[in-house]
Structures are given as C-alpha cells and as structure tokens.
C-alpha cells in the first residue's frame, strides 16, 4: 500500500459515507451539505489521479454553483422535513435492484481485470494538455454538449419568461 492508495481509500470512504448520508437525511439543507462534502471528496480524488483541472472544475461547477442553486431553492421554498417513511416500497425496490446489479458488475470487473491490481500510479495532466486533447480529439462531443445546454437555456427562458398577454388564447368561459 502506497501513500496514494491509503489516501484513495480514505477519500472513497468519505465519498460513500457522505453520499449515503445525503440520500437518507430528512432535512433538505443537511442533505445538500452532505452532497457538497461528497463532491469535495470526488474533486480530491481527481486531484489524486493527477487531474487538478478537473478537480477545480468539479468544485467550481458542482460544489460551488449547482449545489448553491439547490441550497438557494431549498432555503427559499422552506420544505418541512417529512415525518413518514423515508423511502416508500415503490422507490426502494428499483434502488435495491440497481445497486445489486452494480455490485455484481463491480465484482466481475475487479476479479476479471488484472490491470487494476498494481500499485496506484498518479499521472499529471496539465490544463493545456487536457484542453488540447478535449478540443482536438473530442470537439464534436463538446459541441453537442454545448448545443444541448443552449437548447436547455432557451427552453428555460421560454418556460420561465413572462409571456406576452396576446399569445394566450382567450379562456373560454363556462356557461
């Protein structure tokens, strides 16, 4: 066990524990905070794997922007913690089936693939290298993703924006 492996297992434990806490908390704000801790762990994992750019982006985008937005909404609409069962049977069954499937596939991958057995060797990817790789080799993917985001943005504007009064069809009065 190298120092990197030890750090990896600590981080993995933190991520798993905080994610488990996030999905079992009744108080939404607490759930958001645990999820932030989980993203933080993932970012450190990226850093450990030698991708500081991805680590920084993970924190800026997920922990810093998306979760703040979540928190903002949760704080604004003030959801009361529910008192009933946390997960109903209808929700629980698919969750158990899916996680069971993941465990089986994971077990097969760990036992079948010998490449992951060696000691953990960190690589280092400079931001320039990563940027050139993404924009030269995978520019189509980047463009498709950005187009998708643009469409989502326009859609959100149409749904959320004030529609001009004349565009509404006149409401028929009930006789």
């Amino acid at each position: 066990m190298t120092l990197y492996s030890i750090l990896f297992y600590i981080l993995a434990a933190v991520i798993l524990a905080s994610t488990a806490m996030a999905i079992t908390r009744r108080d939404m704000v607490h759930a958001v905070i645990y999820l932030v801790v989980s993203f933080f762990g993932s970012a450190l994992l990226f850093y450990l794997l030698g991708a500081p750019l991805l680590a920084a982006l993970e924190i800026i985008i997920y922990a810093g922007a998306i979760m703040v937005l979540f928190l903002f909404i949760v704080m604004m609409i003030r959801i009361r913690p529910s008192a009933g069962r946390l997960l109903s049977r209808v929700q629980l069954l698919p969750a158990i089936v899916m996680s069971g499937l993941y465990v089986v596939v994971g077990a097969f991958m760990v036992t079948g693939d010998t490449a992951g057995r060696g000691d953990f060797q960190p690589a280092v990817a400079a931001p320039e290298t990563l940027g050139q790789y993404v924009f030269q080799q995978h520019w189509v993917t980047v463009e498709i993703a950005s187009l998708l985001l643009l469409v989502a943005l326009v859609g959100a504007m149409i749904i959320g924006g004030k529609s001009p009064p004349e565009s509404h069809p006149p409401v028929e009065e009930k006789s």
Partner: protein, 328 residues
Amino acid sequence: MIAWLVGFIVLIVKIAVVLGTLLFIAAYLVWVERKLLGRLQVRLGPNRAGKFGLLQPIADSLKMLTKEDIVPEAVDRTIFLLAPAVVALTALLMFAVVPFGEDITLGGRPIPLVISDINVALLFIFAMSSLGVYGVALGGWASNSKYSLLGGIRGAAQMISYELSIGLSLVPVVMLAGSFSLVDIVAAQARYPYVLVQPVSFIIFFISAMAESKRIPFDLPEAENELGAGFHTEYSGMRFGLFFIGEYVHIQVLGALLAVFFLGGWHGPYLPGPVWLLIKMMAVALVMIWIRGTLPRLRYDQLMAFGWKILVPAALINIVITGAFVLI
C-alpha cells in the same frame, strides 16, 4: 530527507508570516476604514484608545474574544457554529496561491515567494470564492430568523450572479498570459500591467469583486436598515468576529488579486516585490473604503439587472474582441 525537512520548515514559516500579516492588516484595516469613513463624514473616528485611536483594533478584538458566545435556542447548532469559519477560511485560503515577490536565495536554495504555485491557481481562487457562499447562505439559514434567512438568500443569489462576471472578466487575462498560474500571470506582466490592454476587464472585475465582498453599494445581504445586519444578526462574540475577519481578509485578497491580474503583481521600480504588492493592495482597499463612503446601496432588482444585463454581456464581448486580437 534533510532537504525535504528544510522545505517543510520553509513552507511553515511562509504560511505563518502570510497568515500573521493578513490578520494583522485585517485588524488595522478596520481602524483605517473607521478613521477614513469618519473623515469622509466630517467626524473624527475612533480617537480614545491610544494615540489617534491606534489601539482600537486591539481593544475590539479583546472585547470580541471575551464576550459570551451566545447560541440562540432555535438555531441548527452544528451549521450555526461552523458557518463563520467557512467564511474566514475560504477568504484566507485564497491567499495561498498569490505570489508576493521574486524568488529569493537563502543558503544556496531558491525560495519562491508564494505558498503554493499550482497550475490551476486561478481556478482554485474561483473554487474558494464559490465555497465562501456557503458560509453566508448557511449562516443565514441556520440562524432560524426571518432577517437572517433573507440576508442569506440575498447573499447566495448575489454571489452566484457576480461570480459569473468575475470568471468571464478573467478569461482575457488567461488568454494573454497563456496560463492559469498566478506566478506566470505576474511574470507575463513584467513589461506592462494588463490594466493598460484590458481596461474593460479591469473595471468588470473590480465591480464584481466588490459585489463578492458584500460591501456598499452591494451590501444587500447585511443591509442594516432593512434586515438588521442580515445573515449575521444572530451571531455574537468571536463568531461575529470571524465574519468580520472574513470580510476584511477578503478585501485584502481582492486587492492582491486585482494587483496580480491587472496591476502587474509585485513588479515595480526601486522597492522590493512584497512592498509593491502591499502598496497596491492598500491602494485598492482605500478606494473600496472611499466608494463605501460615497455611494448609496443598490436595490435588489438593480443589483441583479446590473450583473446579468450589463456586466456579463460586456465581459462576453470583451472576450470575443480579445480572442480576435490574440489570433491576429
């Protein structure tokens, strides 16, 4: 092993010096602000403790430290206790990547005058500043009071909006310097500071940075006359003090960042690097105090419209123009 140990000790010494300087200046920045605001408002400002009130910061911190640490009954205890630390911590951590001078040689070993020169330093600063929102938002939420909650929500909305224009205003700087590392950005400004070629970016960054630090005219999260201090209404003693330290450290960090990105960092004639950086930081801090003494507070919708409809489009256009120039 010995080399590693020496490097470690040097690092600890650097951290201690930077931390001590930041906190010391934060305390005296409060004094400068009170004195200057007093003069701007034709008052004297603090003048009882020591000569010119110079002992006032020490008296204030003693008072804060010895006050009772009150935790109101209805608060969410853990979050309430941790929120001020988040604000102070993220503000202090940002300084870890700011270079404050040329490499010095000590006993045949070059010592870079920066705590950590990581290749994504600029993104690290964004990360820390976006995490700082949690201190404000959660502090406001955990207090379980109307005014604090309103302050927290305003803080979150304001900081999300202005983070965007901060990020966009720095893209041209990265394009010109070709690196995320603050050391490289400062090195690229050895001939001329970027404020000369990027005045629009400079203005957008300065305004957005002021909004990030929640000061007049952008102090809606703590608007005294409508929210009664906003997100820190329920805090007392040193926990309030931590919010306060966070704000004044933030002012210094913004001064340092403005210096690094646009004013040439520690470059300057005659004087050594750290002194120049300190002069630039203090100049920015004084301008911010001056603005606080001059401008009224923005209304909430004005704040949002200004951020999204003026600063963000201006920053985007600026990026396109800079990109065209860089290509040519």
